[in-house]
């Protein structure tokens, strides 16, 4: 009997496909998310838009919050650790969290190295903006990817940029002559063997969810249409007027992302979505997506 194998860690993410993972900050929100049909919840101290507003250093959530959420729901519970923060990750693993997000939403603990995620029994999800970043994270042992987008903005434009970029680069690899792969690995800063695997499979070897800026059912459906395997919704749900309805509508739009009449119906009278931020108005140091390397 073997635990913590690639198949077990990646397989867990495969089971989340077509689903919505929601950010929650307490047991009550976790129950709303589960009731709405979320496939997992991400336990946090603050949602990304509040992290933005609060400023300062953002760290792993108080274990009390994570524990409370784990007790409240039967779906898997994820939690965030700072990039490169070995101890936060080990603490979350020891608590029995089902998935760790090594996340740029928190303030990085290491500006050079991400965690060696291969060493852990618990699986990890990491953000990516392009194939090089995606491949480096998989090389370090990430079992699931997500676009970085621009968290806490309610603005989908960056997540769209990232999923399009990664998928276009995957298509390019698939169409390449074998002789061209090594040079591409050099240019992308990606492990050569992984590019060979991608060429063979015709896709990434792990699932890639959309994250960072999803605020409406149409946003979720758009990301699915662009090839995301599922979606993370952070501030979008519990910063809206009616979280329970928003949560349900986003779940439905994710399942039936090509059924436009249905999306029109579930979007009616939903109330006001989170306000959102225009990306160009963000100061360079406020861009979370630029964290991670």
């Amino acid at each position: 009997m073997k635990t913590g194998t690639d198949r077990v860690k990646r397989g867990m993410a495969e089971m989340q496909k077509g689903g919505v993972i929601m950010d929650v900050v307490n047991a009550e929100q976790a129950k709303i998310a589960e009731e709405a049909g979320a496939v997992a919840v991400m336990a946090l101290e603050r949602v990304p838009s509040d992290i933005r507003a609060a400023g300062g250093v953002a760290r792993m959530a108080d274990p009390r919050i994570t524990e409370e959420v784990m007790k409240a729901v039967s779906i898997p519970v994820m939690a965030k650790a700072r990039i490169g923060h070995i101890v936060e990750a080990r603490v979350l693993e020891a608590m029995g969290v089902d998935y760790i997000d090594e996340s740029e939403v928190l303030t990085p603990a290491d500006e050079e190295y991400h965690l060696n995620k291969n060493e852990y029994t618990v699986p990890f999800v990491c953000g990516c903006r392009d194939l090089g970043e995606a491949a480096r994270r998989i090389g370090e042992g990430a079992s699931m990817l997500r676009t970085k987008g621009e968290p806490g903005t309610g603005n989908i434009v960056e997540a769209v940029r990232h999923i399009r970029k990664v998928n276009a680069q995957v298509r390019k690899i698939v169409g390449m002559d074998m002789a061209e792969i090594m040079n591409e690995a050099k240019l992308l800063g990606a492990p050569y063997e992984l590019l060979l695997e991608i060429r063979e499979l015709g896709r990434l070897p792990v699932v890639n969810f959309a994250a960072g800026g999803i605020a409406t059912p149409s946003d979720a459906a758009l990301m699915m249409q662009l090839g995301a395997d599922g979606v993370f919704v952070g501030s979008g749900i519990f910063k809206s007027d009616n979280p329970a309805r928003f949560a349900k509508a986003i779940v439905e739009a994710t399942t039936h992302y090509q059924d436009y009449e249905l999306i029109a119906n579930i979007s009616k009278d939903l109330g006001i979505a989170m306000k959102g931020i225009e990306i160009s108005s963000l100061a360079p140091e406020a861009r979370m997506q630029d964290r991670g390397w």
């Binding site: 009997m1 073997k2 635990t3 913590g4 194998t5 198949r7 077990v8 397989g11 867990m12 495969e14 089971m15 989340q16 496909k17 077509g18 689903g19 589960e34 009731e35 709405a36 049909g37 979320a38 496939v39 997992a40 039967s74 779906i75 898997p76 693993e93 029995g96 969290v97 089902d98 998935y99 029994t121 618990v122 699986p123 779940v251 439905e252 399942t255 039936h256």
Partner: protein, 196 residues
């Protein structure tokens, strides 16, 4: 050729489709209840059972699924799918589809860090089968007409009751298609009997 549907509300749909096709049958991705009429057998994939149940209710799938079972068409549930088929779920008052005479317990091997791979002998299906268990349920009790096909550490992890096949693990996550092949045979036999 038999047509096998994969319930595609959420979860590991693509992998089951690949496994069906590797066995030379036709796979149909089922997103609408009326599509159930097109297929000879149905696979309910791994995923999150609570999520699938919400979507089954939202899209009025429940009657169609029960009718599918009543029509004696074969159904195969893997992990979350096993939970959806079971007549009794430990800790819950009501089952989901509730057609297979078994009692299951959710997440009974623990959380994700306890998820594992193990080699199984599945009676009449496969020897030395590498099974992947992810936050898996197990069958706590099996009714008198249920054949236990495999156990792991004395827990029932695969069983068949006539037209129903269920397992705790994820055959769709490996390249070993023997259990899917077994299910496709069940569907062929059922179709032959019903066409007489």
């Amino acid at each position: 050729m038999v047509k096998i549907g994969v319930l595609a509300l959420q979860g590991a749909v693509r992998e089951h489709v690949r496994s069906i096709e590797a066995n030379g049958a036709e796979a149909v991705i089922i997103k609408r209840a009326e599509q159930l009429e097109e297929v000879d057998g149905l696979i309910i994939p791994g995923g999150e059972s609570t999520t699938m149940r919400r979507l089954i209710d939202q899209y009025q799938f429940m009657d169609g699924l029960k009718k599918f079972a009543n029509d004696e068409k074969p159904m195969f549930g893997t992990c979350a799918g096993l939970i959806l088929l079971a007549k009794t779920i430990v800790g819950y008052d009501q089952p989901h589809i509730g057609v297979m005479d078994i009692k299951v317990e959710r997440n009974s091997f623990g959380r994700q860090r306890e998820s594992f791979e193990a080699s199984l002998n599945i009676d009449g299906v496969a020897e030395g089968y590498e099974a992947v268990f992810i936050r898996a349920p197990h069958i706590v009790e099996a009714g008198e007409n249920v054949d236990v096909l495999a156990t792991h550490n004395d827990r029932i992890v695969a069983a068949r009751e006539g037209q129903f096949l269920g397992c705790s693990f994820h055959p769709e996550l490996t390249e070993d298609h023997r259990i899917t092949a077994y299910f496709i045979e069940m569907v062929k036999e059922s179709k032959a009997v019903h066409n007489v």
